[in-house]
Subunit: 138 residues, 3 copies
């Protein structure tokens, strides 16, 4: 679906949980459909659920965020992240609650003004999946 | 070149070839210059051409998409992707036709309204490369 | 902070230093707050500072750019990059001056019109960090 967007640019502080920080900004902006444009920063702790796994894997140390992709809405979020360690090795997966920002996370996101995101059961995948609906723009 | 943009937010379904899915959305929107803003999802199959290789490498299994970057236009696309496996290991390269979405691919792209993308031979690189031209906006 | 954005779409040529190329486009556009939306391309040389390291690590060879994230402003930039080699292995970290584009770098960035980025000392992290301020839009 097509939509206009307004950008949100912000820094998250050390110790912040990345998901909580993003959801707090989304809520304050009243965004019904937010997407990550770019995120640069570092983590001391990260919990990722790897492909086809039931449980999360915790990473503790010093990591650079080298990618953060996905969507954030009032019902939840779907975010994948990759992090690089002190030797440049990269690990990635589905971001779970329980991360902690090290020095900073600089984020530019876009709030889509003409749509709303929801999550609904999908008979094809068997999971709750993103649904994009048009809304009356404000 | 400068341009206004309108966003396209959509979900691609299981089994879809990622390139075909992106091109179908682009064509339906009439976009002459589209760029990936964010993509979060999973793949059961992916073909990547790695740096400086002639042939593609096929990945079969369960993978999380941890980055998708690039441009899509009526003449083609230039997309790089990185995927993470069940141990969080990340592989990446140039996305080729032949991928298959596992559960979902949530995509936000931007259609640039005031430019058109084309691919033309470049004497410096020796390859067909992106050209960005201004167009009369609609 | 909320902001409108205008997009910048461009190709950087072989041999260009990625930071210098981005800063040149930013300066020509008069952008006070620029963020990377997408970047697809290749490098023959890259210098990354890995997490929690003081010195940079040089990579020479042929690499695909599989992610580039971050912010660019008149005072500097904060960019993280991940690159994939001929076997698809991915390395990532903080991008330093001294990279060289191989065949191309196709970039779509956004210039945020209603904010300006600056870098100021932060008592919490101990580093110079991004500050986002509202400006009178042009």
């Amino acid at each position: 679906m097509e939509s206009r967007g307004r950008f949100l640019a912000f820094r998250l502080m050390p110790g912040t949980d990345l998901i909580e920080g993003l959801q707090a900004v989304r809520a304050e902006a009243g965004a019904r459909a937010m997407a990550i444009v770019t995120c640069v920063g570092s983590l001391t702790r990260c919990r990722l659920r790897h492909a086809d796994r039931d449980a999360g894997t915790a990473y503790d140390g010093r990591f650079e965020i080298v990618s953060l992709v996905g969507t954030v809405d009032p019902q939840g979020q779907h975010l994948h992240l990759s992090l690089a360690d002190g030797d440049g090795r990269v690990r990635g997966g589905h971001l779970l609650p329980g991360s902690a920002i090290h020095t900073t996370a600089e984020v530019v996101a876009v709030s889509l003004e003409d749509v709303a995101f929801a999550r609904e059961g999908c008979a094809v995948s068997g999971y709750r999946e993103l649904v994009v609906r048009g809304v009356t723009s404000r």
